[in-house]
Symmetry: C2
Subunit: 111 residues, 2 copies
DNA sequence: CCTTAGTACTACGCGATACATAGTAGCGGG
DNA sequence: CCCGCTACTATGTATCGCGTAGTACTAAGG
């Protein structure tokens, strides 16, 4: 179960995770949710992922197409646009900075 | 300058950074701010750090003592309590889970 | 004395977003 | 028809980083 802090920690992380998941190849919403729900420390839910997808698409970062599903309703497939790819690169770089600084703090020991 | 996403990314990260900074040895508020302000990807400000210090102290994670400063007003020194140390360990573990999952996504490549 | 700059800390309103909850709709099987 | 799974939408709530606007202390300079 997620506590107060874990919830705050995910803010911002979700967008990065969603973009990264899509960057690995075109995929559809439900599949993304399933995948990210299963990741330790993420455990993302629909109510988070779908609005993020909507938001990113609205910003022109995702290209969308619909396709019939063999097992249920129509699926929405997402791919990164060129802007999306650039955004992801910038975000990944920022993430690297943040994690690098945290690593220094957590492993720095007494100072 | 911090954008929308960077701001969200910091939520949750600040508490971890503050606890980690204090875990390295007793230090005072202004010093913590200076230190965390200078870290790439963090760049934290007073308006963020001081309320976090207040919050963490309120939760019993920090022990506080005041001491005159040779260069300005009285300083507030912070140390981790035993609860604080335990909390930090739990948070560090969660952070490791999150960053591990992100690492897998960002480096996993096509799948 | 006043002003300035640096040290040290407080208060507050705003915008953004993850989360839980509560759905709708399609498909296949019993 | 109902049920379970697939696939997606909508909404209200709680939380917190950020920018802004201070207060107060110390020392140095005019």
């Amino acid at each position: 179960m997620k506590g107060r802090w874990e919830t705050q920690l995910r803010k911002g992380v979700v967008e990065l995770a969603v973009l990264a998941a899509i960057a690995r190849g075109e995929t559809y919403g439900y599949r993304i949710v399933e995948e990210l729900r299963a990741l330790p420390g993420l455990e993302l839910t629909e109510s988070t992922v779908y609005p993020v997808l909507t938001r990113l698409a609205g910003e022109g970062l995702l290209a969308i197409r619909a396709e019939d599903s063999p097992t249920g309703p129509t699926r929405r497939y997402y791919r990164l646009t060129a802007d999306g790819t650039r955004r992801l690169q910038g975000m990944a770089a920022e993430w690297t900075r943040v994690t690098g600084s945290l690593k220094g703090l957590l492993e720095g020991g007494p100072q």
